[in-house]
Symmetry: C2
Subunit: 264 residues, 2 copies
Amino acid sequence: MSFAEASAVTRVSDNRFRVEIQPGWDIFGISNGGYLMAILARAMGEMAPDRYLASISARFLNPASAGPAEVEVEVLKEGRNTTTLQGRMTAGDRTLFVGDATFTRPAESPGRLVSHGIPPDLPAPSECVRVLPSEDSPFPPPFTGMVDFRIHPDDMELGAGKSNGMPEVRGWLGLLDGELMDPYALVLSADAFPPAVFNSDLPVGWTPTIDMTVHIRRPGPHRRVACRFYTRFVSDGWLEEDGEIWDEDGNLVAQSRQLALLAR
Amino acid sequence: MSFAEASAVTRVSDNRFRVEIQPGWDIFGISNGGYLMAILARAMGEMAPDRYLASISARFLNPASAGPAEVEVEVLKEGRNTTTLQGRMTAGDRTLFVGDATFTRPAESPGRLVSHGIPPDLPAPSECVRVLPSEDSPFPPPFTGMVDFRIHPDDMELGAGKSNGMPEVRGWLGLLDGELMDPYALVLSADAFPPAVFNSDLPVGWTPTIDMTVHIRRPGPHRRVACRFYTRFVSDGWLEEDGEIWDEDGNLVAQSRQLALLAR
Protein backbone atom coordinates (compact mmCIF):
# COMPACT_ATOMS: atom_id res chain seq x y z
CA MET A 1 0.00 0.00 0.00
CA SER A 2 1.43 3.37 -1.04
CA PHE A 3 1.76 6.25 1.40
CA ALA A 4 -0.87 8.15 -0.63
CA GLU A 5 -3.30 5.25 -0.16
CA ALA A 6 -2.41 4.80 3.51
CA SER A 7 -3.10 8.49 4.20
CA ALA A 8 -6.17 8.83 1.95
CA VAL A 9 -9.24 10.70 3.13
CA THR A 10 -12.85 10.39 2.00
CA ARG A 11 -14.92 13.54 2.18
CA VAL A 12 -18.32 12.78 3.66
CA SER A 13 -19.64 16.32 4.03
CA ASP A 14 -18.50 19.92 3.61
CA ASN A 15 -15.91 19.70 6.33
CA ARG A 16 -15.84 16.09 7.52
CA PHE A 17 -13.73 13.22 6.29
CA ARG A 18 -13.75 9.51 6.92
CA VAL A 19 -10.27 8.03 7.23
CA GLU A 20 -8.86 4.60 7.88
CA ILE A 21 -5.79 4.49 10.10
CA GLN A 22 -3.88 1.64 8.50
CA PRO A 23 -2.23 -1.18 10.42
CA GLY A 24 1.55 -1.31 10.16
CA TRP A 25 2.06 2.47 10.38
CA ASP A 26 2.59 2.07 14.09
CA ILE A 27 5.15 1.33 16.75
CA PHE A 28 4.02 -1.40 19.15
CA GLY A 29 0.44 -0.83 18.02
CA ILE A 30 0.41 2.93 18.55
CA SER A 31 0.01 4.79 15.26
CA ASN A 32 2.86 7.08 14.30
CA GLY A 33 2.17 10.75 15.05
CA GLY A 34 3.65 12.04 11.79
CA TYR A 35 1.50 9.57 9.85
CA LEU A 36 -1.62 10.82 11.63
CA MET A 37 -0.67 14.46 11.03
CA ALA A 38 -0.18 13.67 7.35
CA ILE A 39 -3.74 12.35 7.16
CA LEU A 40 -5.10 15.51 8.80
CA ALA A 41 -2.99 17.65 6.46
CA ARG A 42 -4.31 15.78 3.44
CA ALA A 43 -7.90 16.43 4.53
CA MET A 44 -7.03 20.12 5.00
CA GLY A 45 -5.48 20.14 1.54
CA GLU A 46 -8.84 19.10 0.10
CA MET A 47 -10.20 22.36 1.46
CA ALA A 48 -7.29 24.50 0.23
CA PRO A 49 -7.10 23.62 -3.47
CA ASP A 50 -4.12 24.86 -5.48
CA ARG A 51 -2.21 25.63 -2.30
CA TYR A 52 0.39 23.50 -0.62
CA LEU A 53 1.08 22.78 3.03
CA ALA A 54 3.56 25.28 4.49
CA SER A 55 3.14 24.63 8.20
CA ILE A 56 1.23 22.28 10.48
CA SER A 57 1.09 22.03 14.26
CA ALA A 58 -0.52 19.26 16.25
CA ARG A 59 -1.18 18.61 19.91
CA PHE A 60 -1.71 15.00 20.90
CA LEU A 61 -4.29 13.85 23.42
CA ASN A 62 -4.78 10.11 23.14
CA PRO A 63 -2.84 7.31 21.45
CA ALA A 64 -4.34 6.06 18.19
CA SER A 65 -4.39 2.60 16.68
CA ALA A 66 -5.43 1.10 13.36
CA GLY A 67 -9.10 1.46 12.47
CA PRO A 68 -11.67 3.96 11.27
CA ALA A 69 -11.44 7.56 12.38
CA GLU A 70 -12.99 10.88 11.51
CA VAL A 71 -11.39 14.20 10.61
CA GLU A 72 -13.17 17.52 10.96
CA VAL A 73 -11.67 20.62 9.38
CA GLU A 74 -12.55 24.31 9.67
CA VAL A 75 -11.25 26.88 7.20
CA LEU A 76 -10.43 29.79 9.49
CA LYS A 77 -9.30 32.24 6.84
CA GLU A 78 -8.83 32.14 3.12
CA GLY A 79 -6.40 34.96 2.37
CA ARG A 80 -4.86 36.15 -0.86
CA ASN A 81 -1.68 34.14 -0.34
CA THR A 82 -2.43 31.79 2.53
CA THR A 83 -5.27 29.64 3.82
CA THR A 84 -5.44 28.90 7.55
CA LEU A 85 -7.24 25.82 8.79
CA GLN A 86 -7.90 24.00 12.03
CA GLY A 87 -8.90 20.40 12.51
CA ARG A 88 -9.08 17.38 14.72
CA MET A 89 -9.08 13.63 14.40
CA THR A 90 -11.43 11.54 16.48
CA ALA A 91 -12.04 7.82 16.84
CA GLY A 92 -15.42 7.09 18.36
CA ASP A 93 -15.79 9.59 21.19
CA ARG A 94 -12.05 10.00 21.72
CA THR A 95 -10.19 13.02 20.33
CA LEU A 96 -6.83 11.70 19.13
CA PHE A 97 -5.25 15.07 18.39
CA VAL A 98 -5.98 18.61 17.25
CA GLY A 99 -4.02 20.62 14.74
CA ASP A 100 -3.86 23.75 12.67
CA ALA A 101 -2.09 24.54 9.45
CA THR A 102 -1.24 27.19 6.90
CA PHE A 103 -1.35 26.44 3.19
CA THR A 104 0.20 28.79 0.66
CA ARG A 105 0.54 29.41 -3.05
CA PRO A 106 3.73 28.24 -4.71
CA ALA A 107 6.27 31.09 -4.69
CA GLU A 108 6.32 33.11 -7.91
CA SER A 109 10.00 33.84 -7.53
CA PRO A 110 12.54 32.17 -5.29
CA GLY A 111 13.57 35.41 -3.52
CA ARG A 112 16.45 35.80 -1.06
CA LEU A 113 17.99 32.58 0.19
CA VAL A 114 19.86 32.41 3.49
CA SER A 115 21.18 29.14 4.89
CA HIS A 116 23.22 28.86 8.06
CA GLY A 117 23.17 25.11 8.26
CA ILE A 118 24.45 22.12 6.38
CA PRO A 119 22.88 18.78 5.49
CA PRO A 120 23.73 15.87 7.78
CA ASP A 121 26.98 14.09 7.04
CA LEU A 122 25.47 10.91 5.60
CA PRO A 123 27.06 8.12 3.59
CA ALA A 124 25.28 7.23 0.36
CA PRO A 125 21.96 5.41 0.93
CA SER A 126 23.56 2.14 -0.14
CA GLU A 127 26.14 2.53 2.64
CA CYS A 128 23.57 3.27 5.34
CA VAL A 129 21.77 0.52 7.23
CA ARG A 130 18.42 -0.36 5.69
CA VAL A 131 16.08 -0.98 8.61
CA LEU A 132 13.39 -3.60 8.01
CA PRO A 133 10.78 -5.06 10.33
CA SER A 134 11.77 -8.06 12.36
CA GLU A 135 9.76 -11.20 11.67
CA ASP A 136 10.13 -12.65 15.13
CA SER A 137 10.52 -9.71 17.49
CA PRO A 138 8.62 -6.45 17.95
CA PHE A 139 11.69 -4.44 16.99
CA PRO A 140 12.32 -3.03 14.41
CA PRO A 141 8.56 -2.40 14.18
CA PRO A 142 6.45 -3.04 11.04
CA PHE A 143 6.45 0.73 10.37
CA THR A 144 10.04 0.52 9.13
CA GLY A 145 8.82 -1.68 6.27
CA MET A 146 6.36 0.94 5.02
CA VAL A 147 9.13 3.30 3.85
CA ASP A 148 12.68 3.08 2.55
CA PHE A 149 14.47 3.77 5.78
CA ARG A 150 18.28 3.89 5.99
CA ILE A 151 20.06 4.94 9.18
CA HIS A 152 23.60 6.27 9.46
CA PRO A 153 25.73 3.28 10.52
CA ASP A 154 27.14 5.32 13.44
CA ASP A 155 23.64 6.00 14.81
CA MET A 156 22.36 2.44 14.96
CA GLU A 157 23.37 1.49 18.44
CA LEU A 158 20.29 2.37 20.44
CA GLY A 159 20.75 3.04 24.12
CA ALA A 160 24.51 3.11 23.76
CA GLY A 161 25.37 6.80 24.06
CA LYS A 162 27.31 8.78 21.50
CA SER A 163 30.84 9.92 22.03
CA ASN A 164 29.82 13.59 22.12
CA GLY A 165 26.83 12.81 24.34
CA MET A 166 24.37 14.68 22.10
CA PRO A 167 21.33 12.53 21.30
CA GLU A 168 21.17 12.47 17.51
CA VAL A 169 19.94 10.21 14.74
CA ARG A 170 20.56 10.67 11.02
CA GLY A 171 19.43 8.83 7.94
CA TRP A 172 17.77 8.75 4.55
CA LEU A 173 14.04 8.38 4.07
CA GLY A 174 12.12 7.68 0.89
CA LEU A 175 8.86 6.04 -0.08
CA LEU A 176 8.60 2.62 -1.74
CA ASP A 177 8.12 1.71 -5.40
CA GLY A 178 9.27 5.11 -6.64
CA GLU A 179 6.46 7.06 -4.94
CA LEU A 180 7.60 10.67 -4.66
CA MET A 181 7.48 12.64 -1.44
CA ASP A 182 4.99 15.51 -1.25
CA PRO A 183 4.57 17.83 1.76
CA TYR A 184 2.43 15.20 3.49
CA ALA A 185 5.26 12.68 3.18
CA LEU A 186 7.61 15.29 4.64
CA VAL A 187 5.33 15.51 7.67
CA LEU A 188 5.57 11.73 7.96
CA SER A 189 9.38 11.95 7.70
CA ALA A 190 9.53 14.41 10.57
CA ASP A 191 8.36 11.75 13.03
CA ALA A 192 9.51 8.56 11.30
CA PHE A 193 12.88 8.02 13.01
CA PRO A 194 13.35 6.52 16.44
CA PRO A 195 13.62 9.27 19.06
CA ALA A 196 17.08 10.84 19.05
CA VAL A 197 17.32 10.20 22.80
CA PHE A 198 17.42 6.47 22.05
CA ASN A 199 20.92 7.14 20.71
CA SER A 200 22.24 8.30 24.08
CA ASP A 201 22.41 6.86 27.56
CA LEU A 202 18.85 7.98 28.32
CA PRO A 203 16.07 5.42 28.83
CA VAL A 204 14.69 3.71 25.70
CA GLY A 205 10.92 3.34 25.74
CA TRP A 206 7.61 4.93 24.88
CA THR A 207 8.34 8.62 24.27
CA PRO A 208 4.94 10.26 23.75
CA THR A 209 4.77 13.41 21.66
CA ILE A 210 2.99 16.33 23.35
CA ASP A 211 3.06 18.68 20.39
CA MET A 212 4.77 18.79 17.02
CA THR A 213 5.18 21.45 14.34
CA VAL A 214 6.50 20.87 10.82
CA HIS A 215 7.44 23.74 8.53
CA ILE A 216 7.65 22.80 4.85
CA ARG A 217 10.26 25.00 3.21
CA ARG A 218 10.38 23.27 -0.20
CA PRO A 219 7.25 21.36 -1.16
CA GLY A 220 8.97 19.08 -3.65
CA PRO A 221 8.24 16.50 -4.95
CA HIS A 222 11.36 14.85 -3.52
CA ARG A 223 12.74 11.41 -4.32
CA ARG A 224 14.48 10.90 -1.01
CA VAL A 225 15.40 13.14 1.92
CA ALA A 226 18.34 13.33 4.31
CA CYS A 227 17.21 13.71 7.89
CA ARG A 228 18.80 14.77 11.15
CA PHE A 229 17.05 14.72 14.50
CA TYR A 230 18.60 15.87 17.73
CA THR A 231 17.71 16.69 21.31
CA ARG A 232 19.63 19.40 23.11
CA PHE A 233 17.70 19.72 26.34
CA VAL A 234 16.12 17.21 28.70
CA SER A 235 14.71 18.42 32.00
CA ASP A 236 12.03 17.33 34.46
CA GLY A 237 11.12 14.47 32.13
CA TRP A 238 10.50 16.72 29.11
CA LEU A 239 12.56 17.00 25.97
CA GLU A 240 12.44 18.72 22.62
CA GLU A 241 13.44 17.00 19.41
CA ASP A 242 14.41 19.18 16.47
CA GLY A 243 14.48 17.86 12.94
CA GLU A 244 16.03 19.07 9.74
CA ILE A 245 15.07 17.49 6.44
CA TRP A 246 17.18 18.13 3.33
CA ASP A 247 16.88 17.21 -0.32
CA GLU A 248 19.57 15.37 -2.26
CA ASP A 249 20.92 18.67 -3.60
CA GLY A 250 21.62 20.02 -0.11
CA ASN A 251 18.59 22.30 0.26
CA LEU A 252 16.60 22.43 3.49
CA VAL A 253 13.10 21.18 2.70
CA ALA A 254 11.50 21.01 6.15
CA GLN A 255 12.10 21.76 9.81
CA SER A 256 10.36 20.14 12.73
CA ARG A 257 10.20 20.44 16.46
CA GLN A 258 8.37 18.29 18.92
CA LEU A 259 7.98 18.35 22.68
CA ALA A 260 7.92 14.87 24.15
CA LEU A 261 8.08 13.06 27.46
CA LEU A 262 11.19 11.09 28.33
CA ALA A 263 10.61 7.37 28.70
CA ARG A 264 10.45 6.35 32.37
CA MET B 1 0.38 49.02 34.38
CA SER B 2 1.95 45.68 35.32
CA PHE B 3 2.21 42.81 32.85
CA ALA B 4 -0.24 40.85 35.02
CA GLU B 5 -2.76 43.69 34.69
CA ALA B 6 -2.11 44.15 30.97
CA SER B 7 -2.75 40.46 30.33
CA ALA B 8 -5.66 40.04 32.75
CA VAL B 9 -8.76 38.09 31.75
CA THR B 10 -12.31 38.31 33.09
CA ARG B 11 -14.33 35.13 33.03
CA VAL B 12 -17.82 35.80 31.73
CA SER B 13 -19.07 32.22 31.44
CA ASP B 14 -17.81 28.66 31.80
CA ASN B 15 -15.38 28.93 28.93
CA ARG B 16 -15.48 32.55 27.75
CA PHE B 17 -13.36 35.45 28.87
CA ARG B 18 -13.51 39.17 28.22
CA VAL B 19 -10.09 40.73 27.72
CA GLU B 20 -8.79 44.20 26.98
CA ILE B 21 -5.85 44.36 24.58
CA GLN B 22 -3.93 47.26 26.07
CA PRO B 23 -2.45 50.13 24.09
CA GLY B 24 1.32 50.34 24.13
CA TRP B 25 1.91 46.59 23.87
CA ASP B 26 2.22 46.99 20.14
CA ILE B 27 4.62 47.81 17.33
CA PHE B 28 3.29 50.50 15.02
CA GLY B 29 -0.22 49.85 16.34
CA ILE B 30 -0.17 46.08 15.81
CA SER B 31 -0.35 44.22 19.10
CA ASN B 32 2.61 41.99 19.90
CA GLY B 33 1.95 38.31 19.19
CA GLY B 34 3.64 37.06 22.35
CA TYR B 35 1.54 39.47 24.42
CA LEU B 36 -1.65 38.13 22.81
CA MET B 37 -0.57 34.52 23.35
CA ALA B 38 0.11 35.33 27.01
CA ILE B 39 -3.48 36.57 27.40
CA LEU B 40 -4.85 33.37 25.84
CA ALA B 41 -2.56 31.28 28.04
CA ARG B 42 -3.74 33.12 31.14
CA ALA B 43 -7.37 32.39 30.25
CA MET B 44 -6.44 28.74 29.73
CA GLY B 45 -4.70 28.75 33.11
CA GLU B 46 -7.99 29.71 34.76
CA MET B 47 -9.34 26.41 33.46
CA ALA B 48 -6.32 24.34 34.52
CA PRO B 49 -5.95 25.22 38.21
CA ASP B 50 -2.81 24.06 40.05
CA ARG B 51 -1.08 23.32 36.75
CA TYR B 52 1.38 25.53 34.92
CA LEU B 53 1.82 26.25 31.24
CA ALA B 54 4.29 23.81 29.65
CA SER B 55 3.64 24.46 25.96
CA ILE B 56 1.55 26.76 23.80
CA SER B 57 1.20 27.00 20.03
CA ALA B 58 -0.60 29.74 18.13
CA ARG B 59 -1.49 30.35 14.51
CA PHE B 60 -2.14 33.96 13.57
CA LEU B 61 -4.89 35.04 11.19
CA ASN B 62 -5.46 38.78 11.51
CA PRO B 63 -3.47 41.60 13.10
CA ALA B 64 -4.83 42.83 16.43
CA SER B 65 -4.87 46.28 17.93
CA ALA B 66 -5.76 47.76 21.31
CA GLY B 67 -9.35 47.32 22.41
CA PRO B 68 -11.80 44.77 23.76
CA ALA B 69 -11.55 41.16 22.63
CA GLU B 70 -12.97 37.82 23.59
CA VAL B 71 -11.26 34.54 24.40
CA GLU B 72 -12.97 31.18 24.15
CA VAL B 73 -11.31 28.11 25.64
CA GLU B 74 -12.12 24.42 25.39
CA VAL B 75 -10.62 21.86 27.78
CA LEU B 76 -9.86 18.97 25.45
CA LYS B 77 -8.52 16.57 28.04
CA GLU B 78 -7.84 16.67 31.74
CA GLY B 79 -5.30 13.93 32.33
CA ARG B 80 -3.56 12.78 35.47
CA ASN B 81 -0.47 14.85 34.78
CA THR B 82 -1.42 17.18 31.95
CA THR B 83 -4.37 19.26 30.82
CA THR B 84 -4.77 19.99 27.10
CA LEU B 85 -6.72 23.04 25.97
CA GLN B 86 -7.60 24.83 22.78
CA GLY B 87 -8.74 28.40 22.35
CA ARG B 88 -9.11 31.40 20.14
CA MET B 89 -9.17 35.15 20.48
CA THR B 90 -11.69 37.19 18.54
CA ALA B 91 -12.39 40.90 18.22
CA GLY B 92 -15.88 41.53 16.90
CA ASP B 93 -16.35 39.02 14.11
CA ARG B 94 -12.63 38.70 13.35
CA THR B 95 -10.62 35.74 14.63
CA LEU B 96 -7.24 37.14 15.63
CA PHE B 97 -5.54 33.80 16.27
CA VAL B 98 -6.12 30.25 17.45
CA GLY B 99 -3.98 28.29 19.84
CA ASP B 100 -3.62 25.17 21.90
CA ALA B 101 -1.65 24.42 25.02
CA THR B 102 -0.60 21.79 27.50
CA PHE B 103 -0.50 22.54 31.21
CA THR B 104 1.23 20.24 33.65
CA ARG B 105 1.79 19.60 37.33
CA PRO B 106 5.03 20.86 38.82
CA ALA B 107 7.64 18.08 38.69
CA GLU B 108 7.91 16.05 41.87
CA SER B 109 11.59 15.41 41.29
CA PRO B 110 13.95 17.12 38.90
CA GLY B 111 14.99 13.91 37.08
CA ARG B 112 17.72 13.60 34.47
CA LEU B 113 19.12 16.84 33.12
CA VAL B 114 20.77 17.07 29.72
CA SER B 115 21.94 20.35 28.25
CA HIS B 116 23.80 20.68 24.97
CA GLY B 117 23.64 24.43 24.80
CA ILE B 118 24.96 27.47 26.60
CA PRO B 119 23.36 30.76 27.57
CA PRO B 120 23.99 33.70 25.23
CA ASP B 121 27.24 35.53 25.81
CA LEU B 122 25.73 38.68 27.32
CA PRO B 123 27.39 41.51 29.23
CA ALA B 124 25.77 42.38 32.57
CA PRO B 125 22.40 44.12 32.19
CA SER B 126 23.97 47.44 33.17
CA GLU B 127 26.40 47.10 30.27
CA CYS B 128 23.71 46.30 27.70
CA VAL B 129 21.72 49.00 25.91
CA ARG B 130 18.44 49.80 27.62
CA VAL B 131 15.93 50.37 24.85
CA LEU B 132 13.23 52.93 25.61
CA PRO B 133 10.43 54.31 23.45
CA SER B 134 11.26 57.33 21.35
CA GLU B 135 9.23 60.43 22.17
CA ASP B 136 9.38 61.90 18.69
CA SER B 137 9.72 58.94 16.30
CA PRO B 138 7.87 55.64 15.95
CA PHE B 139 11.02 53.67 16.73
CA PRO B 140 11.81 52.32 19.27
CA PRO B 141 8.08 51.61 19.73
CA PRO B 142 6.13 52.18 22.98
CA PHE B 143 6.25 48.43 23.64
CA THR B 144 9.90 48.72 24.68
CA GLY B 145 8.79 50.89 27.60
CA MET B 146 6.47 48.22 29.00
CA VAL B 147 9.35 45.94 29.98
CA ASP B 148 12.99 46.23 31.08
CA PHE B 149 14.59 45.57 27.74
CA ARG B 150 18.39 45.53 27.32
CA ILE B 151 20.01 44.52 24.04
CA HIS B 152 23.57 43.27 23.57
CA PRO B 153 25.58 46.32 22.40
CA ASP B 154 26.87 44.31 19.40
CA ASP B 155 23.32 43.54 18.22
CA MET B 156 21.96 47.09 18.18
CA GLU B 157 22.76 48.07 14.64
CA LEU B 158 19.59 47.09 12.81
CA GLY B 159 19.84 46.43 9.11
CA ALA B 160 23.62 46.46 9.25
CA GLY B 161 24.55 42.79 8.93
CA LYS B 162 26.68 40.86 11.37
CA SER B 163 30.20 39.78 10.64
CA ASN B 164 29.23 36.08 10.62
CA GLY B 165 26.12 36.81 8.56
CA MET B 166 23.82 34.87 10.92
CA PRO B 167 20.78 36.96 11.88
CA GLU B 168 20.84 37.01 15.67
CA VAL B 169 19.71 39.26 18.50
CA ARG B 170 20.55 38.81 22.18
CA GLY B 171 19.54 40.64 25.31
CA TRP B 172 18.06 40.68 28.79
CA LEU B 173 14.36 40.96 29.48
CA GLY B 174 12.61 41.63 32.75
CA LEU B 175 9.37 43.19 33.93
CA LEU B 176 9.12 46.59 35.60
CA ASP B 177 8.84 47.49 39.28
CA GLY B 178 10.11 44.12 40.45
CA GLU B 179 7.27 42.12 38.91
CA LEU B 180 8.49 38.54 38.57
CA MET B 181 8.24 36.55 35.35
CA ASP B 182 5.81 33.63 35.30
CA PRO B 183 5.28 31.28 32.32
CA TYR B 184 2.98 33.87 30.72
CA ALA B 185 5.76 36.45 30.86
CA LEU B 186 8.09 33.90 29.27
CA VAL B 187 5.64 33.62 26.37
CA LEU B 188 5.79 37.41 26.07
CA SER B 189 9.60 37.28 26.11
CA ALA B 190 9.65 34.83 23.23
CA ASP B 191 8.27 37.45 20.85
CA ALA B 192 9.44 40.68 22.51
CA PHE B 193 12.68 41.28 20.63
CA PRO B 194 12.95 42.79 17.18
CA PRO B 195 13.14 40.05 14.54
CA ALA B 196 16.63 38.56 14.36
CA VAL B 197 16.64 39.19 10.60
CA PHE B 198 16.70 42.94 11.34
CA ASN B 199 20.26 42.33 12.49
CA SER B 200 21.44 41.22 9.05
CA ASP B 201 21.39 42.65 5.56
CA LEU B 202 17.81 41.45 5.00
CA PRO B 203 14.94 43.95 4.68
CA VAL B 204 13.71 45.62 7.87
CA GLY B 205 9.94 45.92 8.05
CA TRP B 206 6.71 44.24 9.08
CA THR B 207 7.56 40.57 9.67
CA PRO B 208 4.22 38.85 10.35
CA THR B 209 4.23 35.69 12.43
CA ILE B 210 2.44 32.73 10.84
CA ASP B 211 2.73 30.39 13.80
CA MET B 212 4.63 30.32 17.06
CA THR B 213 5.26 27.68 19.72
CA VAL B 214 6.75 28.29 23.15
CA HIS B 215 7.89 25.43 25.39
CA ILE B 216 8.29 26.38 29.05
CA ARG B 217 11.04 24.25 30.53
CA ARG B 218 11.32 26.00 33.93
CA PRO B 219 8.21 27.84 35.07
CA GLY B 220 10.00 30.13 37.48
CA PRO B 221 9.27 32.72 38.80
CA HIS B 222 12.27 34.44 37.22
CA ARG B 223 13.60 37.91 37.93
CA ARG B 224 15.14 38.46 34.54
CA VAL B 225 15.95 36.24 31.55
CA ALA B 226 18.77 36.12 29.00
CA CYS B 227 17.43 35.70 25.48
CA ARG B 228 18.88 34.68 22.15
CA PHE B 229 16.93 34.69 18.89
CA TYR B 230 18.34 33.57 15.58
CA THR B 231 17.26 32.72 12.06
CA ARG B 232 19.15 30.06 10.15
CA PHE B 233 17.04 29.67 7.03
CA VAL B 234 15.28 32.16 4.77
CA SER B 235 13.70 30.90 1.54
CA ASP B 236 10.87 31.94 -0.76
CA GLY B 237 10.01 34.79 1.62
CA TRP B 238 9.62 32.51 4.67
CA LEU B 239 11.87 32.29 7.69
CA GLU B 240 11.99 30.56 11.03
CA GLU B 241 13.11 32.31 14.19
CA ASP B 242 14.30 30.16 17.06
CA GLY B 243 14.52 31.48 20.59
CA GLU B 244 16.29 30.31 23.71
CA ILE B 245 15.47 31.87 27.04
CA TRP B 246 17.77 31.29 30.02
CA ASP B 247 17.64 32.21 33.69
CA GLU B 248 20.39 34.11 35.49
CA ASP B 249 21.90 30.85 36.75
CA GLY B 250 22.43 29.51 33.22
CA ASN B 251 19.45 27.14 33.02
CA LEU B 252 17.29 26.96 29.92
CA VAL B 253 13.80 28.15 30.89
CA ALA B 254 12.03 28.28 27.54
CA GLN B 255 12.43 27.53 23.84
CA SER B 256 10.47 29.11 21.03
CA ARG B 257 10.13 28.80 17.30
CA GLN B 258 8.10 30.92 14.96
CA LEU B 259 7.51 30.83 11.24
CA ALA B 260 7.28 34.32 9.77
CA LEU B 261 7.22 36.13 6.46
CA LEU B 262 10.24 38.16 5.44
CA ALA B 263 9.55 41.88 5.10
CA ARG B 264 9.16 42.91 1.47
